[in-house]
């Protein structure tokens, strides 16, 4: 699994030391690339958990109203 993941572009794998778990971080530049990567990931079996974090760094939000 690790080998197959390492072949994917725009992906970074963090394997656990003592369990069969891999944390996978994706970083795509475009929506199209994201969709393509999603397809490739869906083709892999045994991916069971996706987690999302929202980080906003220094971006200033703009009013939408």
């Amino acid at each position: 699994m690790l080998e197959r993941l390492s072949e994917l572009k725009e992906c970074e794998s963090i394997p656990s030391q003592n369990k069969d778990i891999i944390v996978l971080i994706t970083d795509t530049q475009t929506i199209e690339a994201e969709k393509e990567l999603e397809k490739e990931l869906e083709a892999l079996e045994d991916i069971s958990h996706l987690s999302l974090v929202a980080g906003f760094a220094d971006e200033i939000n703009k009013p939408q109203v």
Binding site: I14, S16, A54, G55, F56, A57, N61, K62
Partner: protein, 773 residues
């Protein structure tokens, strides 16, 4: 690519990696990652702090990262048993609502028709002076406080103490009257005590989830994900019983649609079937249940001065059975639109002794002109089969706001309530007077105005001064036009504390900029009786000040410094310690301040260092007597099964106005959108409101998706885009409009009819017509 964006991408990757590792650690205890990996992603220059989410009543635990005095990242708190590390789309973007470009940072005062900036000192002086003058000229009941289920617990407590204990008026209300009042009166009439007996852990035990008019997939998404998890892993079943097909219906095992208001009849039909099939838990009913009826044909509160007091009367089980004879599945099928087969299907789920059943509901049952009744009727079903107060057997009323329970229901910021008990009872007034150190005569024994009555009084001129905090009634009040015009009358004075300009601040004479959520310290109380504390993590902008401290400053200017002696540094702890004296004891004890600071919340009653997950059962609840169920909220220790009939709503579609109007929310926006519409990604997802039509109705009227349509009721009309075959699908003859968009004030059309017992308006049913523009 700029340096800034590289930095941001890198930052986001770090956060994602950290969160994923945290989630893995929650799911698989003992899992290890290499230290160099953890170091690489640890975000060492960030400070992560726990807080409950700012938005809905689920009360998800968040971890918010701050850097250089600013909130910069959010993740679900893996230590929170509520959400177990997950968030919904609003939660993930919650901190962005702090940083809208048009945050209110300076107080504004209306002079010669224009708003002028003044200092906070001057603004607070003006508020106190006007409050004092109005009381002096027109009496104490000419002033009012209108707060919110988004008030922190200290906000509501200080407001109640100031207005009820010192000024001496019961004109204290909160917007939770619009969302949770029927749940409160349902609990009080059936059990004698407010709030659910169970907790979210029920989800992990239930075999069946029956959702009563509750689009959980959008309104309580994280909890709904827990239901889906049980469906996937334990084959639990989800039944969506609703008036509209939604994302919840799509995810459910079965969707059953009913005609508006007929949930009353269907609930009685389910009870009828349970009895008819011999599924009653006989010993439970004999030992733990009494039967009652109440007044009927109560009216709908449409007239100013309307008053109603129910008269409960004891009846026998046999009389209850006779009452149910009008509710055979075949009879109810004729007007509910629910087949007798589906009614029997739901009855069989409740009646199966081998299935644990959770009923869940929120606005569908509460915003109902017979809201108290439908709450009673669902409790009836659980009581008949004894499925209550044990893990997985749980009638569960969900809340919509982060502290509707904590602040409005527990602190008691409603006209008839005190932090413990009600103003009508001498012993409750005496307790409040003792803790507040005020003469008991200060506390008026008569409730004054519930929310609709309060705005009517403002329109008539009986109330001349109103202070609104953390809510936006000029978007949310039903029959809105009347109340907007009322506020605009010459001698009315409106103070509004908020964080952004809204249609309510547009009407204000004084606007006070508020500190929001983690810009101050506070506590919220969620749907499962869990109180959660949050620290001040960042500074508020400009002169913005917490609502608690605004109230204290005004109280001091009125001469009440003695009752509000606390320092800015420790006032939240001091307030908590004073407030929790009201609830001391095994039935409602609250966790100590230090405990709340140290963990993601605690569930009351908090007894001997432990949360109480299930009330009214001796196995789980230290206050319960005996070795089984004990409904100690009632003098006879018995819960009540009520004979409550079906009654039609006040306004039903006719030839002139042939459609039902149902209003509600969407997942992306919080209430009136004043915060979430300033979050770019959420605003772009749903930039405006719309009127959702059934595709057959749309086809018949040649209305296509996106067409402009005029929607009119007897009270007003608006034009807005049509939505056909998109997110949700109303039944034929019904339309649905989300209320988050101040550009389309749908409440100009709604009716201010309310449940006579709870005084909660019905936003789900009035008659409208639709015309293609």
């Amino acid at each position: 690519m700029s340096v800034h964006s590289i930095s941001r991408r890198s930052f986001l990757k770090q956060m994602a990696a950290l969160s994923a590792m945290s989630a893995a650690a929650t799911l698989i205890p003992g899992i290890l990652f290499a230290e160099d990996q953890i170091d690489q992603y640890s975000g060492k220059n960030l400070k992560w702090s726990k807080t409950p989410c700012r938005f809905c009543g689920v009360g998800c635990g968040l971890l918010v990262a701050t850097k250089n005095g600013k909130a910069v990242a959010v993740k679900g708190d893996p230590a929170s048993t509520v959400n177990k590390g997950l968030c919904c789309v609003k939660g993930y973007h919650s901190i962005m609502s702090l940083y809208g470009k048009d945050r209110l940072t300076k107080p504004l005062v209306r002079r010669n028709g224009k708003m002028e900036e003044v200092s906070m000192e001057e603004a607070l002086d003006i508020v106190a002076k006007k409050l004092k003058e109005t009381i002096s000229e027109n009496g104490k009941d000419s002033v009012a406080m209108y707060g919110s289920g988004q008030w922190t617990i200290p906000d509501g407590y200080v407001a109640s103490k100031l207005f009820k204990g010192l000024i001496g008026t019961n004109n204290v209300e909160a917007n939770a009257r619009l969302c949770m009042a029927s749940a409160v009166t349902g609990f009080l009439t059936s059990f004698g005590m407010d709030e659910p007996m169970g907790c979210y852990e029920d989800i992990d035990h239930a075999d069946v989830f029956i959702l009563w008019g509750n689009n959980m997939a959008e309104m309580h998404p994280v909890l709904f994900s827990r239901l889906l998890d049980q469906k996937l892993n334990r084959n639990s079943r989800i039944i969506d019983f609703a008036t509209r097909t939604t994302r919840t219906s799509m995810a459910a095992d079965k969707s059953i649609l009913f005609k508006p208001q007929t949930d009353l009849a269907v609930a009685n039909a389910i009870a009828h079937e349970i009895i008819n099939n011999g599924w009653v838990h006989e010993s439970f009913v004999e030992n733990h249940v009494s039967f009652k009826s109440g007044l009927t044909n109560m009216g709908y509160g449409l007239e100013d001065g309307y008053a109603f007091k129910d008269e409960e009367k004891a009846i026998s089980f046999e009389e209850y059975k006779r009452f149910l004879k009008d509710y055979t599945p075949e009879k109810v099928e004729q007007y509910s639109g629910v087949s007798a087969k589906d009614i029997r299907y739901m009855a069989a789920l409740y009646g199966d002794p081998n299935k644990k059943v959770m009923s869940l509901w929120c606005m569908g049952m509460n915003q109902h002109t017979r809201g108290t009744w439908i709450n009673n009727l669902v409790y009836n079903i659980h009581l008949l089969v004894g499925k209550i107060s044990t893990p997985g057997n749980s009638p569960f009323s969900l809340t919509g706001q982060p502290s509707a329970c904590g602040t409005v229901r527990e602190v008691g910021t409603l006209t008839h309530k005190l932090p413990y008990g009600v103003v009508m009872k001498e012993e409750h007034r005496a307790k409040a007077a003792e803790i507040w150190e005020v003469p008991v005569e200060n506390i008026d024994p008569k409730p004054s105005n519930h929310t609709v009555a309060m705005f009517r009084a403002m329109d008539r001129g009986d109330i001349k001064f109103m202070w609104v905090q953390v809510t936006n009634p000029m978007v949310t009040m039903p029959n809105l036009m009347r109340y907007r015009n009322g506020l605009r009358k010459d001698d009315r004075f409106l103070v509004v504390s908020d964080i952004y300009p809204t249609p309510t601040t547009d009407e204000a004479d004084v606007i006070l900029p508020s500190a929001m959520w983690i810009e101050r310290e506070g506590m919220y109380g969620n749907s499962e009786r869990r109180t959660q504390h949050f620290e001040q993590l960042v500074d508020p902008p400009g002169e913005a000040m917490s609502d608690t401290w605004q109230l204290i400053e005004v109280a001091r200017r009125l001469g009440y410094e003695k009752w509000f002696p606390w320092s800015e540094e420790s006032h939240i702890e001091n307030i908590w310690n004073e407030y929790t004296r009201f609830h001391a004891g095994a039935k409602h004890g609250m966790a100590p301040y230090e405990v709340l600071k140290s963990q993601p919340g605690a569930i009351w009653p908090y007894v001997d260092g432990k949360s109480t997950s299930w009330r009214y059962h001796a196995k789980y609840d230290p206050a319960a007597e005996g070795d089984g169920h004990d409904f100690y909220g009632k003098p006879d220790h018995k819960a009540v099964i009520f004979a409550r009939p079906y009654e039609a709503p006040p306004e039903i579609p006719d030839d002139e106005y042939p459609f039902w109007l149902n209003t509600g929310r969407v997942i992306e926006h919080w209430h009136t959108g004043s915060m979430t519409r300033r979050i770019k990604v959420l605003h772009q997802a749903v930039p405006n409101s719309y009127v959702e039509l059934n595709p057959d109705d749309a086809k018949r009227m040649s209305i296509r998706n996106g067409d402009r349509v005029k929607i009119s009721s007897r009270r007003g009309s608006i034009e807005m885009p049509a939505s056909v075959d998109e997110r949700g699908m109303p039944t034929p003859g019904q339309v649905f409009v989300p209320f988050f968009d101040e550009g389309y004030l749908i409440n100009d059309l709604t009716l201010d009819a309310f449940c006579p017992i709870s005084k909660q308006p019905d936003y789900k049913k009035c008659a409208v017509k639709i015309e293609k523009v």
